[in-house]
């Protein structure tokens, strides 16, 4: 190996590093390491002058490797890679030593911290010497998109993409579009008609020349990778030999929504036994038909609405379903407006009114004389049939928290606010499109705050309640965000794929197939003809699972080769 010319840059990060680590001493020690041509300490390496220093040294000192000892590579590796690239050096020839998060922030000032920083820099220098220039790959981006689920989220995503001039395949399992919103009468907190909202969307989607609506259809198989998926769609309604079609799409948006909690799982409300204990969705049906009535056709005088059925409970779902509180208030309004003489009581645990306009809505609901009763999270209001002398059908016993009294509440109609839960086949969908589920079964986003609609599979997005319980505005916002992400990719035309990925050396592969199942991204395929395994680099996330698994050492991770890792270990121990 010819002598390297490595530049070492020790960042002081203002006082963030320099207060704990003697940065000048670290730079001086690095000067004598093998291959180091230049070693400097500077106040802020990420600043323009800091980056300029690297660019200038690469050009004037002929550096062929760069080590920046600074913060976490998650923070500034892209910055320094760009600087190297600007000076004509391959960006993968840059290595960072994390002497902030992994040193100055976790140690007391002194010689020991400085020694550790020196060790980390030495490891980085040894490793950098083994770095190889890598090229990023460019792949084509198919502008067509598959949207799974024809609810409010799916339709919103489809329209956003189609309006921008792109083809969309909208796959809906049932015979009609609209999803759960189509089952709702009015929406909270402004009491707009859900029907108007849905009818308008459905009409536009169906009539849109760029949208192919496939009803009673499902995704059966998804092959390929970002920009280049092949989706096999199957029509389920038509008997034994369902027609299939394979479409090329560049992106997939999963908008499969939720199902409501099955109230029969909670026994103490008598659901299924008492005729006038109904779920919120059954009540919506009543509202849509325009008549609030009991099973025997009489009008109810006492209506009780019970919150958190299946939600926020240790027994069923620990999470809050987010929309039920405002929907319950909406029911109070709708009952009062249909039956002005009815008494409405709202039996809640906590009133979650966090959305825009929701707190006002809560206040207005109190003004229409709704009786609010608070029960404890671990408590169970109990329903029983009223006695013949009572003036009502049922009695609801609530251990009321604010008054501390045990209150017996008359009720003719009891509405159970059932929460949301993942659809029964969410696991199959997750498997089909290669995304993950959380402990409750909701699909997991790439980053809970900064990347809310992308997933760990490039090109597959999630929007709406399949990701977690959410209301209409949030679902629409996510759908449009997913569309925006896709439109961004489409407008660039080509996709750049990171140069770090695993590769199989076919001369060393024995075709044993141990790696075939290990890849969490399904990036490994087996070539039956050659009897060799192969990594689809566009799908690979460079996690290294297959590299560790391969018993033949035939799989190598670019930028994480054994030689590089051993050099780093040797460096830190030297």
């Amino acid at each position: 190996m010819t002598e390297r010319r490595i530049g070492v840059y020790v960042c002081n990060c203002g006082t963030n590093i320099a207060n704990v680590v003697d940065c000048d001493a670290v730079a001086e020690a690095a000067q004598s390491l093998p291959g180091v041509a230049v070693s400097r300490s500077y106040k802020y390496m990420c600043s323009n002058p800091g980056q300029e220093m690297i660019v200038q040294d690469i050009r004037e000192e002929g550096l062929d490797r760069v080590v920046v000892a600074a913060c976490s590579p998650r923070m500034h590796e892209p910055t320094f890679r760009r600087a190297a690239e600007m000076a004509g050096l391959n960006p993968y020839l840059v290595q960072m030593a994390n002497i902030r998060e992994q040193c100055s922030w976790v140690h007391d000032p002194g010689e020991t911290a400085t020694d550790k920083a020196k060790d980390l820099v030495r490891a980085a220098v040894y490793r950098a010497a083994c770095h190889e220039p890598l090229e990023r790959m460019a792949v084509e981006m198919c502008p067509d998109t598959l949207v799974i689920g024809g609810g409010i989220a799916g339709m919103s995503a489809a329209l956003e993409l189609a309006d921008a001039g792109n083809r969309v395949y909208l796959v809906e399992r049932t015979a009609s579009l609209g999803g759960n919103v189509a089952r709702v009468d009015l929406t909270a907190p402004y009491l707009d008609s859900a029907r108007d909202m849905i009818v308008d969307r459905v009409t536009r989607v169906v009539e849109h020349p760029n949208v192919d609506v496939l009803l009673e259809s499902e995704l059966e198989r998804l092959d390929g990778f970002v920009g280049n998926f092949k989706a096999t769609l199957v029509r389920r309604s038509s008997g034994e030999a369902p027609p299939r079609q394979v479409v090329d799409v560049g992106s997939v948006v999963v908008c499969t929504g939720y199902k409501e909690f099955d109230a029969a799982r909670v026994t103490h409300f008598g659901y299924g036994k008492l005729p006038d204990v109904i779920t919120s969705f059954e009540f919506e049906q009543m509202l849509k038909q325009g008549r609030i009535e009991l099973k025997d056709g009489r009008l109810p005088q006492y209506v009780a609405i019970v919150h958190c059925v299946g939600s926020r409970s240790e027994e069923f779902h620990g999470y809050c379903s987010r929309v039920c509180c405002m929907t319950a208030l909406k029911y109070a309004h709708e009952v009062k407006s249909a039956l002005p003489k009815a008494y409405v009581s709202d039996v809640y645990v906590d009133m979650h009114a966090f959305g825009k306009g929701c707190e006002d809505f809560y206040r207005r609901s109190a003004e229409v004389k709704t009786l609010f009763l608070m029960y404890g999270k671990g408590e169970r209001p109990v329903v029983r049939r009223a006695d013949p002398g009572d003036d009502c059908e049922m009695l609801l016993t609530v251990d009321e928290q604010l008054s501390g009294e045990l209150i017996e509440l008359p009720a003719d109609l009891i509405i159970l606010m059932v929460g949301m839960e993942p659809r029964d086949d969410a696991g199959q969908v997750a498997h089909l499109v290669n995304i993950s589920q959380d402990k409750d079964g909701w699909f997991i986003e790439s980053h809970p705050k900064l990347d809310p609609v992308a997933t760990t599979t490039d090109g597959v997005y999630i929007a709406g309640a399949c990701q977690s319980p959410k209301d209409i505005p949030d679902s629409v916002a996510q759908a449009r965000a997913a569309a925006a992400r896709i439109l961004g990719k489409i407008s660039r035309g080509k996709l750049e794929i990171d140069a770090m990925y695993a590769e199989v050396d076919e001369d060393l592969c024995s075709g044993c197939r141990v790696c075939n199942e290990i890849c969490p991204y399904s990036a490994i395929e087996f070539d039956e003809e050659k009897r060799r395994s192969h990594v689809i680099s566009a799908l690979c996330k460079a996690c290294g699972a297959c590299v560790a698994t391969c018993p033949s050492a035939a799989i190598k991770a670019r930028h994480f080769t054994d030689a590089q890792i051993f050099a780093e270990i040797t460096g830190v121990l030297a």
């Binding site: 060393l508 024995s510 075709g511 044993c512 790696c515 199942e517 391969c550 018993p551 033949s552 050492a553």
Partner: protein
């Protein structure tokens, strides 16, 4: 004495004799060897004393095949002697290559071994306290025997080795190829493994391979083994995935799982670690308790994964007191 003929020696260190038998398994080819070479030392088959070897010029031998591990001071002494006297020294067979079966002794301490072998054992007379010692005085004179080392070494721990011929024992056909290469001067660069393939056993194994999803591991006698499909897929622990091919896949072809005697693949630092990661990778479960249950089906995993390579592995030996 030298003349045109090749001068060769064969030696056994800590070995079972199987490697020597494997050389004889080349059948009438051994006569060709004899025609082309003078066999100057081969304790199992021909006459020849250590003193004869000691009397040779340095480098007088063209080739020495050393089989067996280095267990005691005699093994080391002869290894060094043959190294000095031979132009080419070959670590022949698994024990010389990686430590082999005797290398499993590295999982126990010297005291534990002595204890079982000489003190506490049903076949030993009760009350025996005699242990072998390198030197003992008898009737005023001193008797010496080789020193039993604390651990087993593979050959290249004690001397530089030119080539490695893996196998327990090496396959007769591959021995022929190696010997022919010596005669014809067709050996590769020193340091190479010869008489073996560059890909894993699976490459030459005739069994069909599919995606591997294992719910339970079995010993071969516990299940009816399907003759067509990959043994590991059937949950039978087969080391073939992490082992060099070259043996002709004789074991898996006969329904016997590979035991790993041909050693790690090129570029692999630790065969047992690779085997461990391969085996756990095929477990088809995400449930911690079920995984524990499945792993319970792996008795003596160290003995399995490092059956032939403990001394040359990253583990080297047990240091538990």
């Amino acid at each position: 004495m030298a003349g045109e003929k090749l001068q060769i020696a064969l030696y056994w260190g800590a070995a079972c004799g199987g490697c020597d038998v494997a050389v004889l398994d080349t059948n009438e080819f051994i006569l060709d060897v004899h025609a082309a070479a003078d066999i100057r030392l081969w304790p199992i088959a021909v006459d020849g004393k250590y003193a004869d070897v000691e009397a040779m010029e340095d480098g007088e031998l063209d080739l020495a095949l050393y089989n067996g591990a280095v267990r005691n001071s005699e093994n080391e002494h002869i290894a060094k002697l043959l190294r000095r006297k031979s132009k080419v020294l070959v670590a022949f067979g698994s024990c010389a290559h990686l430590g082999g079966i005797p290398g499993l002794a590295n999982l126990a301490s010297r005291d534990e071994i002595m204890n079982v072998a000489y003190l506490h054992n049903p076949s030993i007379e009760k009350g025996n306290t005699t242990l072998p010692r390198p030197e003992s005085g008898v009737n005023g004179s001193t008797l010496t025997i080789p020193e039993f080392y604390k651990r087993v070494y593979e050959l290249d721990d004690v001397v530089p080795v030119d080539y490695y011929v893996p196998g327990c024992p090496p396959a007769a056909d591959r021995i022929k190829e190696v010997l022919q290469a010596v005669v014809s001067g067709g050996l590769p660069v020193p340091g190479s493994v010869v008489g073996a393939n560059e890909t894993a056993l699976c490459d030459e194994c005739p069994r069909t391979k599919n995606e591997k999803k294992v719910k339970a591991f079995h010993r071969p006698w516990q299940v009816m083994i399907d003759p067509e499909t990959c043994l590991l897929e059937q949950g039978v622990l087969c080391a073939g995935v992490a082992t060099r091919g070259g043996c002709g896949a004789r074991c898996p072809s006969s329904g016997i799982p590979c035991r790993g005697c041909y050693g790690p693949l090129p570029g692999v630092v630790d065969q047992g670690a690779k085997l461990l990661s391969a085996v756990v990778s095929v477990i088809d479960s995400n449930d911690a308790e079920e995984i524990d249950r499945i792993l319970d089906g792996l008795p003596d995993f160290t003995g399995f994964a490092y059956r032939f390579s403990a001394p040359s592995s990253l583990l080297q030996r047990s240091v538990r007191q």
